[in-house]
C-alpha cells in the first residue's frame, strides 16, 4: 500500500466520521443558538430515532421508510421534551436549565434500559448498504453506508440552509438566536420559533442517530452519550450556537481524531479522547467564541 493511498483512505475516514459529528453538532447548535441551552438530552433523542428504526426494520419495514419514521420519532420526542421539561424553566438561570437537561437524559436512558435492556442489539443493515467499494486493489475501501452518510449530511444541510434563509420561520429562528427580546418586540411568536427549532434539531438528532447506529452496527440505550460529548467539542470549536461553526467543527474534529489514530505513535492513540477534551478546554479558555466568532467576550 502506497503512502498516497493510505492518506486518501484516511481522508475518506475523516470525512465520514466528520459528517456524523457535524450532524449531531448542528442539532446542538440550533438549540443553543435559540435557547442558550446546553442540551444534554440531544444524545438520547438520537437513541430514540435509532431504536425506532431498528424495531421497524425488525418488523419488516424497508430501511429508508424505517429511517424516516425514526427521524419522525426523534422529532416528536424533541417536541415533547420541550413542552414538558424545558418550557417551564425557559427563563431560569443557566445552571437550572443545564441540570434539567441532565435529568431528561437520565430519564430517557433509563427508559431505554427498562424497555430494551442495556445489552446492545444488532442493527439490521440491508446488504446493499453494507457492500463495500474497493479501489486500487483494495488499498482504499469504503462502504455504501459511508457514502449515504456523507450524501445525507450534505443534502440535509443544504435543506437547512434554505430553511433558515428563505422561510419566515427560519428567519425567525435566526432573529431569536441573535436577540430573543428584540425578536419578541417586533412581534415574533417565540413559542412557535422555539418549538420549530427543537423539532428541527431533534430531527437532525434522529438522522444522526440512525446513521451512527448503522455505521456502528449496534444500538443500545447509552449509544447517544459519546456522540453527544464529541458534538459538544465540535460545536464549541466551531463557535457554539452557529450552524456553519458546528459544521466546520464537526469536520475538523473528525479530521483530528483520524489524524491521531492514523499518524501518531501507538502509545498516544489510546489517549485520543483526552486530547480531544483538552482541546475543548483550551478553546473555552482562549477562544470561547470558537473559530467563527473570535470576538465573543469571555463572561466572567
Amino acid at each position: 500500500m502506497s503512502q498516497l493511498e493510505y492518506i486518501i483512505q484516511q481522508v475518506i475516514n475523516a470525512v465520514s466520521l466528520g459528517s456524523l459529528y457535524a450532524l449531531v453538532a448542528v442539532g446542538l447548535s440550533i438549540v443553543f443558538g435559540v435557547l442558550k441551552l446546553t442540551n444534554f438530552a440531544h444524545g438520547d433523542v438520537m437513541m430514540v430515532g435509532a431504536f425506532t428504526t431498528v424495531l421497524l426494520i425488525a418488523a419488516g419495514m424497508p430501511f429508508i421508510p424505517a429511517m424516516i419514521c425514526g427521524i419522525a420519532a426523534s422529532a416528536i420526542a424533541g417536541f415533547l421534551i420541550e413542552r414538558i421539561a424545558y418550557r417551564p424553566i425557559r427563563n431560569a438561570p443557566d445552571v437550572t436549565r443545564l441540570l434539567t437537561s441532565l435529568a431528561v437524559t437520565y430519564i430517557l436512558e433509563n427508559l431505554g434500559i427498562l424497555l430494551f435492556t442495556s445489552s446492545p442489539r444488532n442493527f439490521p443493515l440491508p446488504d446493499i448498504l453494507n457492500s463495500s467499494w474497493q479501489l486500487s486493489g483494495g488499498a482504499i475501501t469504503f462502504t455504501n453506508i459511508n457514502v449515504l452518510t456523507v450524501a445525507l449530511t450534505f443534502v440535509s444541510l443544504i435543506g437547512l440552509g434554505w430553511f433558515i434563509t428563505r422561510t419566515t420561520i427560519g428567519l425567525g429562528m435566526r432573529a431569536a438566536a441573535e436577540d430573543m427580546q428584540a425578536a419578541q418586540l417586533v412581534g415574533l411568536d417565540v413559542n412557535k420559533v422555539i418549538i420549530v427549532a427543537f423539532v428541527v434539531a431533534s430531527a437532525y438528532a434522529g438522522l444522526a442517530g440512525v446513521l451512527w447506529a448503522a455505521q456502528a452496527g449496534v444500538v443500545q440505550p447509552q449509544m447517544g452519550f459519546t456522540p453527544l460529548l464529541k458534538a459538544f467539542v465540535a460545536a464549541i470549536i466551531g463557535g457554539f450556537g452557529s450552524i456553519s461553526g458546528a459544521l466546520l467543527g464537526g469536520y475538523m474534529l473528525g479530521a483530528l481524531e483520524i489524524f491521531i489514530v492514523a499518524f501518531l505513535p501507538d502509545t498516544v492513540v489510546p489517549y485520543r479522547d483526552a486530547i480531544v477534551f483538552a482541546l475543548l478546554i483550551a478553546f473555552l479558555l482562549f477562544r470561547p467564541g470558537g473559530l467563527l466568532q473570535p470576538n465573543r467576550e469571555i463572561k466572567l
Partner: protein, 345 residues
Amino acid sequence: MRIPLAIAAAIVLAAIVAFGAPHVVGDYFVRVLLLIALNSILVLSLSLSNGFTGVFSLGHVGFIGAGAYAAGILSLTVQQKKALLPHLPDLLNWFSLPFLPATLAAGLFAAILAVIVGYPLMRLSGYFVSVATMGFLIIVNVVLINASDFTRGARTFTGVPLATTLPWVIGWLAVTLLVLSRLVYSPFGRRMKAVRDDTIAASAVGISVLRARLLAFVIGAFFAGVGGSLYAHYLGSFSPNTFYFAMTMNLIAMLVLGGMGSLSGAIIGVVCVSILSELLRGFERGFTIGDFTVPALFGASQIVLGFLFILIMIFRPKGIMGDRELTFGLSRRSANHNHKEGKDR
C-alpha cells in the same frame, strides 16, 4: 480553646451512633447509614464550589476517582503491588500506607490536581465552566483506563483493604462539616457567596473572583479525594467507570434536592435520595400482590428520580432548604466564636 456545649453534645451523639449502631441495628442498616455518611462527605465537598461559589462543576467526580485510585495504590500491601501492579514505578512499590495517611495523601493529591486544573478553569462561568469541568472528568476517565501501570486499566482495581467502618466515616463527616461550616460562615464564605450572587459587583468591591473560586474548588477537591479514599476502602474493588457520569448525576441530584446554598440541606438531600433509592430498589426487583405479579423493572428507580428532579427544577429550584440552615442552636455560638476570633486578630 473552649468547646461550646452544643458542639460537644453533637460530637458525643455522633460517636454514640458511630460505635453503637452496629450493635443495635442489622448489617443492612449499618451499610445504609455508612453510605449516607459517605455520600454526605462527597455532596458537602461538591456544595462548596457548585453551591456556595456558583461554579457549577461537572468534574467533581474526577477528584473522587483520583483520590480513590491514589489511596488504593498507597494502601495495597507490597505483595499485592507486585502481583497486581507489576509495572508500578520503584518509588511507589516498596511500601504500604495505613488507612489514615493514605486517605490524607489522597485528599492532598486531589487538592493539588484541583490547583492545576482550577487555575485556568476558574476563569470561566456559567455553562462554560460546566462543560470544561466535564471535559476534565472525561480526561480523568481516559487516563485511569489507559495508565494501566498504575490503575490496572479498565480491569477492576482490587485488593484494597476494607478499612472503611462507620466510625471512620462519621469521624470524617464531622471533620468535613466542621471545616466547611467554619469556612462558609466566615468572611471568606461571604466573599464566595458574593462572587456567586453577582460576580461583577463582587470584583468591583475588590474581591478576587479567581482566588475565591479557586480556594473553594481546591478545598472541595481535598474532601472529594478523602471521600474517594473512603469509597475505595469501602468497596475494596472498583474500576474507572465507578467514578463517572452515573456518580456525577447521583451527587448532583442529592445536592440540588437538598438545596445548593446550605450545608444541612446537602445532608438532607443525601438522606432523602438514599432512602428513596433504597425503597425504589426493593420495588424495582418486582413483587407479588395476591395473584398479581409485578415484574422486575430495572431502571425504574432512576426514572422516578429523574422526574422528581425535573419537578424540583420547575417548582422549587432552590431545593428543600435553599439558603437556610438547620442548626439545632449551634450557629449562634459558632457565630459568636468567629466574632471573638476576628476581634483578637
